[in-house]
């Protein structure tokens, strides 16, 4: 029978079906951060079950509030740190080596096609970019994942999104996913996996694909998914080369996970990007999306570039291409958070950090930062932020603040003008 990628992953990982429609899967990677894991750890300790199913399959990072800002966050970090040491978890990323979970774990080669991945974080869907089934879960699911290496799911149905056409200059993966969310609406993909296909996706880097999959949850999706191909193999090659004769053999192995011809989709959505405008959200829901021309000129107080959506090297390159030789408007606070130390170092070597600093940006350490308003970059009531992050919920970046979601290109030119602006006016590579 023809199967989708996630149906294949479910079949390969099925441990139990305790009730019809409930599938208990074995989990390949259980990822943990300091916000949702400490309560699970404390509960395991209280139950006298302070153990882990397999320390090699557990990946841990402190990323949401780092360095700790107060006693409470210091305590969260300590609980996680002590636990990782106690349990012999080697892949623990502490301060100095830490970065945003959904950037640092893929960058470390932890995710492979066909894997099952869970984390106590809704943007876990990012990792589906590698052809994995990757789902955000709550602390209880995480706790069971840590203890038993299993997680229960209703088998998701799959929505296929075909993205074709020619990507216009100034339009990026973020614009495409905002358009997809606008079409699907905020709950159009609930209990569904969103598969991204088409020539635009095929031509995208892993970074671009992660941006797409990252926001599947904003349409309610369980996981975003891209089909593993040569791009996937190239990205993972440093981590997998010892296991395969050559890239061709790896590709053949990965391709077995691709959705079959004739598999069942509950919905097919076709997006033609030719002539598409950069996209910007308005309001407090991520499906409230407009062409940039409709919001152009809206004054902003802060511009934030970073997060698990758009804090990777490609994003910084795009933003810097507009900022080079320019300064941001005096009315704007610019904040950029490279997603990982590797991204930071690379941005430094390429001269991007210098460009951001010369333009007047504050460059922070790798962290989730302003995205959810719990560490730095919090807005005052009535303030507006142009942001490359993933959620524009009421109060998300600080009580009474307004967040407009957009690509790094739109964010960069918005910083220059102090008002939401159209990167296409700056021409190729930001040269006006």
């Amino acid at each position: 029978m023809a199967m989708t990628l996630s149906e294949k992953v479910f079949r390969a990982h099925l441990r139990d079906e305790p009730f019809p429609g409930t599938k208990v899967l074995g989990i390949d990677v259980v990822m943990c951060h300091e916000i949702t894991t400490p309560i699970a750890i404390n509960d395991l300790v209280a139950r006298g079950k302070d153990r882990v199913f397999d320390p090699a399959k557990i990946k841990v990072v402190i990323d949401h509030v780092t360095p700790a800002k107060d006693t409470k966050t210091a305590q969260q970090g300590k609980i996680l740190r002590d636990w990782a040491r106690r349990q012999g978890i080697r892949d623990f990323f502490d301060i100095g080596r830490n970065g945003v979970c959904h950037a640092i774990f893929p960058e470390s080669g932890f995710i492979r096609p066909g894997y099952t991945v869970i984390m106590g974080d809704s943007h876990t869907c990012t990792h589906g970019a590698f052809g994995a089934f990757a789902a955000g879960v709550g602390t209880t699911d995480l706790e069971v994942g840590i203890l038993k290496g299993v997680c229960a799911f209703r088998e998701p149905r799959t929505i296929r999104v075909n993205i074709n056409g020619r990507m216009p200059e100034g339009v990026h993966a973020k614009d495409v996913i905002l358009r997809v969310i606008k079409e699907l609406t905020v709950n159009g993909a609930t209990d569904c996996v969103i598969e991204f296909h088409g020539e635009v996706v095929n031509a995208m880097s892993m970074e671009g694909r992660m941006t797409l999959c990252n926001m599947a949850i904003e349409a309610g999706g369980t996981s975003g998914v891209c089909m593993p191909d040569e791009v996937t193999v190239d990205y993972l090659w440093p981590f997998i080369s010892s296991g395969y004769k050559d890239k061709k053999e790896a590709l053949k192995d990965f391709e077995k996970w691709r959705s079959d011809e004739g598999c069942q989709y509950v919905k097919v959505l076709d997006i033609d990007v030719t002539g598409m405008s950069p996209q910007v959200t308005v309001g407090y829901k991520p499906d409230q999306v407009k062409d940039v021309s409709e919001v152009e000129g809206t004054a902003v107080d802060q511009v934030y570039i970073g997060s698990c959506t758009n804090g990777r090297i490609e994003d910084l390159r795009v933003a810097a291409s507009y900022l080079k030789g320019r300064t941001i408007a005096p009315t704007v606070r610019g904040v950029v958070s490279p997603a990982t130390p590797r991204v930071f170092r690379q941005a430094d070597e390429e001269g991007l950090i210098r460009i951001f600093m010369d333009a007047g940006f504050c460059v922070t350490n790798p962290t989730c930062g302003a995205c959810l308003g719990m560490s730095n970059g919090v807005l005052a009531p009535g303030e507006v932020c142009a942001s490359t992050t993933n959620r524009n919920f009421n109060g998300r970046m600080g009580k009474g603040g307004m967040v407009h979601l957009m690509s790094p290109a739109v964010a960069a030119v918005t910083a220059i003008e102090g008002r939401i602006a159209d990167p296409r006016k700056y021409g190729k590579g930001g040269v006006k």
Binding site: R15, D16, P18, F19, P20, G21, T22, V24, I35, T36, P38, I39, N42, D43, R47, K49, H64, V65, D70, K72, T73, Q75, Q76, I79, M119, G120, D121, S122, T124, G136, V137, G138, T139, T140, D141, E143, V144, L147, K148, V150, A152, V186, N187, T190, D191, G220, T222, Y284, K285, L372, G373, M374, R391, F393, N394, G395, R396, K399
Partner: protein, 173 residues
Amino acid sequence: MKEFGGKVLFLDRSDINTDEIIPAKYLTEISKEALKPHMLEDLKLEGFDPRSPEAKEAGVIVTRANFGCGSSREHAPWVFEVNDINVVIASSYARIFRQNMFNCGMLAIELPGETIEKLFAHRGGAKISVDFKNDRLTIESAKGKETFDYPISGFDKALVEAGGWVDFADAKY
């Protein structure tokens, strides 16, 4: 088996997200009890006051579509739990929130929009009691009394009976 039900808090809006249920700034707490004063603190809903008796005394929430969208934070069900709310009734849920409710041994009941409408008609001093054994709930107000069957999967029911997913999984896997 614990009792499910109580006074009803009606939240007449769709897409109420987890940041509205419990803002991220409180996720630095490592005890559920500490979340208690902050339930629905950032909810954007005309006329809603998180400090009103309706909110403070509630045992059940009745709301619209896509409740609990956004973050995976289990702090959302927890803030309800510590405020003695153990039932949410909505026309649909975000997947993670719904699972989190059952994983904590609480009820996330899904009813068609028309039935939700009938529940809303009881607004003003309504109480709901849940007959968990028979998958049935009764709403009672000055307008009278109505009973509705609700769907629940075998798995979700077993989670509630076990007191949550940790106990269920620990016994079985």
